[in-house]
């Protein structure tokens, strides 16, 4: 022991070695022959499919795929699809936060309104909703803004106010908001009640507590499913033909395909771009998640006492002992009562 301590105190020795290093195990690896067989089969099947698709299926028309991948019409459609993903998503997140807060409100009217909103927008297909939004200018031909019971006011024609693009954005946003509301609500509920109390006790108001303390922590729970929602939204944009909006990636490539009597290569063009976009989104999600995970993780066990130390803490203190059960007492050799923690009891008849 002494030798080791002096060695450790010495200048160069990096770490005191308390035990001899045990011999490393050099075991012969267990083999898994069936895994290898199945893996080889999978590779062969995939390889055959790819080979067949590239050489043996003229219907794929790879030359057309390559030619139209960067076609101006396709690229402009890509821009619309991106906008149809981003704008509704931003609106949906904000509206979702509002709905989630309404659902957690003490006011029963707010709770009911939020619930009914969710019930309707989650309970009907988004395609049907988009058709409805497309019909809005027909159902509500004009909007009159004015003072009731007077002649003062202006009349606006709905069809002039809302383009099909705007209606598509609204339709996608309101549908998505219902899902975002549930995601945000789950996030808000995941934040410890003590956080809210600590902020309130500091004298922070509702807005500061929500925006600085609760929401940033809820984000850790909110971000991953929201990433899924963005990917899902990107693909749902292919339904905007229901409005009808025709310049998005899927509808545009479909239109070109129809005009050329070549459906398959344009499906491949559209799929290629959808895949590229979702891949970019996945990378973005990684960084957003990492940002909101700051301060969390590392050493979650740091404040939890071990079984032994918590038992020591209890002796002489109050809560556990006076709660009724407490620890069994044993009469010591000197006749006095001792408190014995359950795991610390002296074994057998030794004492």
């Amino acid at each position: 022991m002494n030798d080791m301590q002096t060695a450790a105190a010495g200048t160069s020795s990096p770490q005191p070695r308390r035990h001899d290093e045990p011999q490393a195990i050099e075991a012969i690896k267990l083999r898994h022959p069936w895994r290898a067989v199945v893996a080889a089969l999978l590779i062969i099947i995939v390889g055959l499919f790819v080979f067949d698709a590239l050489t043996n299926r003229p219907v794929y028309s790879w030359d057309i795929v390559v030619n139209y991948l960067f076609d101006v019409r396709v690229l402009s459609a890509l821009g619309y699809t991106l906008q149809l993903t981003i704008y509704p998503m931003i609106i949906a997140v904000l509206l979702g936060i509002l709905l989630a807060i309404m659902r957690l409100s003490p006011n029963p009217v707010f709770r009911a309104v939020a619930w009914v909103y969710l019930w309707i927008f989650r309970g009907t297909p988004v395609y049907v909703q988009l058709v409805f939004w497309g019909l809005m200018p027909v159902i509500y031909k004009s909007i009159t803004l004015g003072i009731p019971f007077t002649e003062v006011g202006i009349q606006l024609v709905t069809a002039d106010l809302f383009s099909y693009f705007t209606l598509a954005v609204i339709g996608l946003a309101l549908n998505e908001a219902a899902y975002m509301a549930e995601i945000v609500r789950a996030g808000l509920l995941s934040v410890d009640k003590g956080q809210d109390e600590a902020a309130v006790a500091l004298g922070l108001g509702w807005w500061h507590t929500m925006s600085r303390i609760v929401l940033p922590q809820a984000m850790r729970v909110i971000v991953p499913p929201t990433g899924n929602e963005v990917v899902s939204m990107l693909k749902t944009t292919s339904l905007v033909i229901a409005v009808p909006f025709t310049l998005d990636l899927y509808t545009r490539t479909h239109d070109i395909a129809v005009s050329m009597y070549k459906p398959v290569p344009f499906l491949l063009v559209a799929s290629f771009w959808y895949l590229i976009l979702t891949s970019i989104l996945m990378v973005g999600q990684f960084y957003v998640e990492r940002y909101f995970a700051r301060g969390v993780g590392a050493r979650p066990d740091v404040q939890k006492p071990t079984v032994e130390t918590s038992a020591i803490g209890v002796i002489g203190l109050s809560s556990a002992t006076e709660a009724g059960g407490g620890y069994p007492t044993a009469t010591g050799a000197d006749g006095g009562d001792q408190i014995v923690p359950p795991h610390g009891r002296a074994g057998g008849g030794g004492v």
């Binding site: 003590g194 956080q195 109390e197 600590a198 004298g203 108001g205 740091v302 404040q303 803490g313 809560s319």
Partner: protein
């Protein structure tokens, strides 16, 4: 100051019930400026609830509770009691610091950010000056060199000391401690009690719910023993601890000491 004769905390027949469960039954007590009061008693005796009523985290059903001569959470005008606007209740809480059993530090903010948050949002001052002050507070609890650590990277005792610094950052005139050492490893209790002792010596008015009888004896000016929602016994800590008058106090202390 002419106000010095107004007690910092005055409770008159304070009562609180959750439905039919009466948790506080007519609690009356006073805490003078600069005084340290320790609240002790078994779990469920209502001591934590009473503490939380003082900064209006809980509302009371009956009686009067005032801090520095001002009713907590209510206005009294013309013999009528009006509920306070949440903004005013928040302003009231700024003068009352609170330290929790489970620390409740903000995990997404560093120690320094935890301390600076409330002053930055509410005090509208020069940011550099606020930061210097926050660093001073961290130094006061012995954690200046840990200012850029996140709570998860601090021990329980260190977290609780940051929590005390955070509560002090709003320059409260009253500090409430809700079992500040009950969630700590035994060997970390001392460092937190030391900080609290220093705070008491500096003249801070404090109400401490605790199971640390040694601390109560050494630091408190008054000890209050609560059980079943009532004050069973109160007085000089040494007197109550060594010579309790009530059977219930005796029974409790015999298990604790």
């Amino acid at each position: 100051m002419s106000q010095t004769d107004i007690p910092m905390v005055k409770a008159e027949a304070v009562s609180k019930a959750y439905g039919s469960n009466q948790v506080l039954k007519s609690i009356s007590l006073e805490v003078k400026r600069g005084e340290v009061l320790c609240l002790v008693g078994p779990s469920g005796s209502g001591k934590s609830t009473f503490l939380r009523c003082i900064n209006h985290l809980e509302t009371i059903n009956a009686g009067r509770l005032s801090v520095d001569g001002e009713l907590v959470g209510y206005h009294e005008r013309g013999g009528k009691i009006y509920e306070m606007h949440p903004k005013e209740a928040a302003r009231q809480r700024r003068d009352i610091g609170m330290v929790f059993q489970r620390f409740n530090l903000f995990p997404h903010k560093t120690a320094l950010e935890n301390v600076m948050l409330a002053p930055t949002l509410l005090k509208k001052g020069n940011k550099a000056a606020l930061q210097t002050r926050a660093m001073d507070l961290l130094a006061r609890v012995g954690l200046a060199e840990r200012h850029d650590y996140y709570p998860a990277h601090l021990s329980g005792g260190q977290q609780q000391r940051v929590a005390i610094a955070r509560a002090l950052a709003m320059e409260p005139k009253l500090m409430l401690f809700d079992e500040p050492t009950s969630a700590l490893d035994p060997e970390l209790v001392g460092e937190v009690l030391d900080v609290m002792k220093g705070l008491a010596e500096s003249g801070m008015t404090m109400i401490v719910v605790t199971h640390e009888m040694g601390f109560a004896r050494e630091v408190a000016d008054e000890l209050v023993f609560m059980d079943g929602g009532v004050v069973v016994e109160s007085g000089d800590p040494t007197e109550v601890l060594t010579n309790p008058q009530r059977e219930r106090t005796k029974a409790f202390l015999s298990k604790v000491l």
